[in-house]
Symmetry: C2
Subunit: 198 residues, 2 copies
């Protein structure tokens, strides 16, 4: 026996999401059948809406509903610092900190020769243009602490430094609240190298 | 900073699914933004479709696209045996076995005095009606091996037995491939009680 077509199709759709296998997808699909009609309609509308109503900001590449995102439009923010991240969700994470008041730039990826992603495949050209046109003193590179993230940081640093702009990178070290016992060697090494006088 | 409205709404919808918290919902929402437009449209359509196109079978209560489900319509199946399950997904699990060729009856729940679910709140009346009208010799009760499942099985058994119909319950025992070392005491006890001559 097979699932009735509507369930089979919904299971297939759930399975396209990351980390959701056949069993979880079936569980979610059966759960959906018993959900309130309004909730399911809202869900379907929300799906359509994220594809239709969201665009990349013309200036920084962040996700926005308008042509220019709310951060780039905010005149109270410092225009002289740009923080470079891999993805839009990293912008949200940074904003949760409620400390940083500068600009952002979203690369939408990292350099990854293995996957064939070169400098032209990510949002670097417009970053360089911004550095030329605007009065920017510092670029903070906040790509992930992965091999690709580090390589991209290095590449950007070599590209930007010659223009006389200060380039910085987020500090590596122990997570706040973590045990030294469980820290990996590389993190521990970075924490020692980056030690600060107290 | 808040998420743009379309993302916030999608996160909210994902969070209504079981086992999906705020962080996973955000991850899924951002993933959805980068999914293919067609896949997202299909997903939205599938959601609407499971609510619109699926009904409960008039006979057994199983989920179906038509008035009577394909199992009840199948004339090659044995009409004299009814297997009673809690949910439609249990029917799918039983069918995966490819051995059982009788009828089903879906209760859509179990008796649970704690949650205020009584005999009138689950699909029992129509089961009794079927037993009256059709030539049924055996009712196999396949509710879950939980307290509520056992209580429901007991209740149904007392209700059906006086009509002279054989009532059976699925066997309890060790899962195939499992170690005795890791079996709980109750399962082990049931396995000893239910031992068979070889």
């Amino acid at each position: 026996m097979h699932y009735p077509t509507p369930i089979a199709k919904l299971i297939e759709s759930y399975m396209k999401l990351p980390g959701i296998g056949a069993k979880t997808a079936a569980r979610l699909a059966f759960y959906t059948i018993d959900m309130k009609e309004d909730d399911v309609t809202e869900f379907a509308k929300a799906l359509i809406s994220v594809k239709r109503d969201l665009h990349y900001c013309d200036v920084c590449g962040n996700i926005t509903e308008s042509a220019v995102c709310s951060i780039c439009q905010d005149t109270s923010r410092d225009k002289s610092v740009v923080l470079v991240v891999e993805e839009s969700k990293d912008v949200m994470s940074m904003e949760k900190m409620r400390e940083y008041r500068g600009q952002y730039h979203v690369l939408h990826g990292v350099l990854s020769p293995m996957d064939g992603t070169g400098p032209d495949d990510i949002n670097i050209t417009s970053l360089i243009q911004r550095l030329h046109n605007d009065e920017i003193n510092e670029v903070i590179i906040a790509t992930n602490a992965t091999t690709e993230g580090e390589a991209t940081a290095m590449y950007l640093s070599r590209l930007i430094k010659p223009a006389g702009i200060k380039v910085t990178r987020l500090a590596h070290g122990l997570s706040v609240g973590s045990d030294i016992e469980y820290a990996d060697e590389v993190t521990l090494l970075k924490a020692v190298e980056g030690r600060r006088e107290m």
